[in-house]
């Protein structure tokens, strides 16, 4: 038997795209001649990659999480107001922000699974509530300041022996990525994918579909809170910090070949999709493409990626299993 790398289905294309983009960066940008350039890229991409990992858990189990952008904003604004420059408040507030993320995920998950509301609607409602409540609480504009300790995670670096300075955010990202990859190989992880693929089958074989979906939402909320901590440190306090991130994270996940509607795709590919997106923006920037056209390119690319996945992979899949509905959006069947 020849050894084949155990790549999940759909992972290969995004890795090829990522490789091409990285090679492109090396050719175009002088900063990418040495590892530090790539490290900086990874640091910039870390929050989006973490969000994409969280979003993956929800999407692969058959849902959507539109609330992560608002959750990131809420996390940063809450932290700034509560810390208000006070160094000693850093640790409790970080724990609080993480707890808040878990709570929001829990609410999303419980409403989706117990009240049978499609997750698209639940998280859209959560988006509205979070956006409104955050600014209601702060009277319209973010107030307070983050402490230096809080910001370390977003912009500081740790001196790792042999490797030199590694940004905290990259270390956190790697830890999350490894944990997520291991989790997806465990029984629970596989059941999560199965719940997105064929809910009835999982139920009949004794799987707790509701609990699995709930877990997906909680993980997504928790990781959004982590991303909020990194972004708050990296970019500072602003009311716009999380806006549009939910769509960007979903784009990244889809770019990673994960099927919307659930049941197919790997978490590493989702993270690679996020890194590709960030690398693409950097490359466009270096090539002098105006920032305004960035979104147009992003739009073309995700359409192309999805079309490739469903047309190119279609034949292969048809030989093995019945094609899933591609035309319909199927947020958490109710």
């Amino acid at each position: 038997m020849t050894w084949r790398p155990r790549l999940a289905e759909g992972t290969a294309p995004v890795l090829v795209v990522l490789l091409l983009l990285l090679v492109g960066l090396a050719i175009v940008g002088p900063a990418y001649d040495e590892p530090s350039g790539y490290l900086a890229l990874l640091k910039r991409a870390a929050p989006l990659m973490i969000l994409a990992i969280g979003q993956y858990f929800v999407i692969v189990s058959g849902g959507f999480d539109l609330s992560v952008g608002a959750l990131v904003t809420a996390g940063v604004v809450i932290a700034a107001r509560l810390i208000d420059g006070d160094e000693s408040a850093t640790t409790p507030v970080i724990l609080l922000v993480l707890g808040f993320g878990v709570l929001v995920g829990l609410l999303n998950g419980l409403i989706t699974t117990k009240l049978l509301v499609p997750s698209f609607i639940v998280t859209l409602g959560m988006l509205l509530v979070l956006d409104g409540a955050t600014f209601l609480w702060t009277d319209g504009a973010p107030r307070g300041a983050l402490s230096a300790g809080f910001r370390t995670f977003g912009r500081g670096a740790l001196d790792v022996p042999l490797l030199g300075e590694i940004p905290w955010s990259v270390l956190i990202l790697l830890a999350i990525l490894v944990a997520a990859a291991l989790f997806m190989r465990s029984g629970t992880g596989r059941a999560l994918v199965a719940a997105g693929d064929n809910e009835a089958a999982v139920r009949m074989s004794g799987g707790q579909v509701d609990r699995l979906r709930l877990l997906g939402f909680v993980l997504s909320g928790l990781l959004a809170a982590v991303a909020a901590i990194l972004l708050g440190g990296f970019a500072g306090v602003s009311a716009q910090v999380g806006s549009g991130l939910e769509f960007r994270a979903i784009t990244a996940v889809v770019l990673g070949g994960v099927l919307l509607g659930g049941g197919r795709g790997s978490v590493v590919a989702a993270a690679a999709g996020a890194l590709s997106l960030e690398a693409l923006f950097t490359l466009l920037n270096l090539l002098g493409v105006s920032g305004a056209l960035e979104s147009a390119v992003q739009g073309l690319i995700i359409i192309a990626a999805v079309a490739y996945a469903s047309l190119g992979g279609g034949l292969r899949q048809r030989l093995r299993l019945r094609p899933k509905q591609c035309n319909t959006v199927q947020p958490a069947p109710s």
């Binding site: 959507f64 539109l66 409403i111 009240l115 049978l116 509301v117 499609p118 698209f120 609607i121 639940v122 859209l124 409602g125 959560m126 988006l127 509205l128 509530v129 956006d131 409104g132 409540a133 955050t134 600014f135 209601l136 319209g140 769509f247 979903i250 784009t251 889809v254 919307l260 509607g261 105006s290 920032g291 305004a292 056209l293 960035e294 979104s295 147009a296 390119v297 992003q298 739009g299 073309l300 995700i302 359409i303 999805v306 079309a307 469903s310 047309l311 279609g314 509905q325 591609c326 035309n327 319909t328 959006v329 199927q330 947020p331 069947p333 109710s334």
Partner: protein, 341 residues
């Protein structure tokens, strides 16, 4: 599918019930909620010594409903078909610009301006529909992609309002018949047309069929691709009308007039609030208009009560989720009672 089933339902176990009993369908629930809201709102506003439903209040509610109503009518069609459209917000901005720039302040250019804007809207809808049916992209991603492309175009070419709408055309946005704005009446006419199309014509039935079960519809000989493309073209046309209406109100085109109001997610919220199933196949335009009116009434009441604008978002989110949870419960209850759903 479900229309057919609903129609045959009285022959089943439901026939045993008194025929005149009002079934609490989502549409009924929406309008009951609207009436309740109006009563409660009138009382609350009345406690402050003001009147909610005076001339200005009615005008306010209807004006707020017009733009969102137009988008939501189109959105209803795509959602019924089992799709959705996230590109409407940017399309509204684009069509408002095209209309205003073509008109360029001349009364003679009104008709070409409107037609050009609608043509561009139809083309965008065609692209949406073709990407979904031919490239087999998920509707969420396909329309998000098209939205991003439109956004790139707008950001690259415009920094602010552009074009000039002639006085004559601004009448559309501001004229009234009694207390009723002309534009709101036109919106209701479009809604009536959409209702007729969806519930009285074959292509309309096909939309329900495709949304109910794509595969079954296809096997029953419904031209599913054509139905999905049609729904998207109609949805984009409705968004185009919204853009034209907003141009006439603003006096010029504005690139972010659609996104600032969040018409993409807001219209989906209105449709779902109106009892249409997000997965498609059930619901209709009448419920959607009810949903739009509820959102507009909430806004007006909050304005009269001088509630913090951020509080509105919180209430909106809670109302949306609560409503859909109620509909879901009713469907489950129906199902356990053995009714066809």
């Amino acid at each position: 599918m479900s229309t057919v089933q609903q129609r045959t339902a009285p022959a089943g176990p439901a026939a045993a019930r008194p025929a005149l009993r009002l079934r609490l369908t989502p549409v009924v629930v929406v309008y009951l909620a609207l009436v309740t809201l109006l009563v409660v709102g009138s009382v609350l506003v009345g406690l402050r010594g003001e009147v909610l439903l005076d001339q200005a209040g009615i005008l306010n509610i209807l004006t707020r409903s017009t733009a969102l109503g137009l988008v939501a009518i189109g959105q209803t069609m795509v959602i019924l078909t089992g799709s959705l459209d996230l590109s409407v917000a940017y399309l509204i901005g684009l069509t408002s610009l095209i209309a205003a720039e073509t008109m360029a302040g001349q009364n003679g250019m009104i008709v070409p301006g409107v037609l050009l804007a609608l043509a561009v809207a139809a083309a965008v809808g065609l692209v949406n529909g073709l990407v979904i049916t031919v490239l087999k992209a998920n509707a969420f991603i396909a329309t998000l992609g098209v939205a991003l492309i439109l956004r790139g175009y707008l950001e690259n070419n415009y920094t602010g309002p552009a074009g000039d709408v002639p006085r004559g055309f601004q009448h559309l946005g501001y004229d009234r018949i009694g207390p009723l704005p002309v534009a709101a009446l036109l919106m209701l006419a479009v809604a009536a047309l959409a209702w007729w199309y969806l519930s009285r014509t074959r292509p309309g039935y096909h939309m329900y069929a495709v949304g109910g079960d794509l595969e079954v519809a296809r096997l029953s000989g419904v031209p599913t691709r054509r139905v999905v493309v049609t729904a998207h073209v109609l949805c984009s046309l409705a968004a185009g009308l919204t853009g034209i209406y907003l141009a006439s109100r603003l006096g010029s085109g504005a690139p972010y007039v659609g996104t600032d109001a969040g018409y993409d997610l807001e219209s989906i919220a209105a449709v779902v609030l109106g009892g249409t199933l997000l997965a498609g196949g059930r619901g209709g335009v009448i419920g959607t208009i009810g949903g739009v009116l509820i959102l507009a009434t909430l806004d007006t009441i909050f304005d009269d009560l001088e509630v913090d604008p951020f509080f509105k978002d919180v209430v909106r989110g809670v109302v949306l989720v609560t409503a859909v949870a109620l509909y879901a419960r009713r469907m489950m209850a129906d199902r356990t009672r053995g009714r066809l759903t």
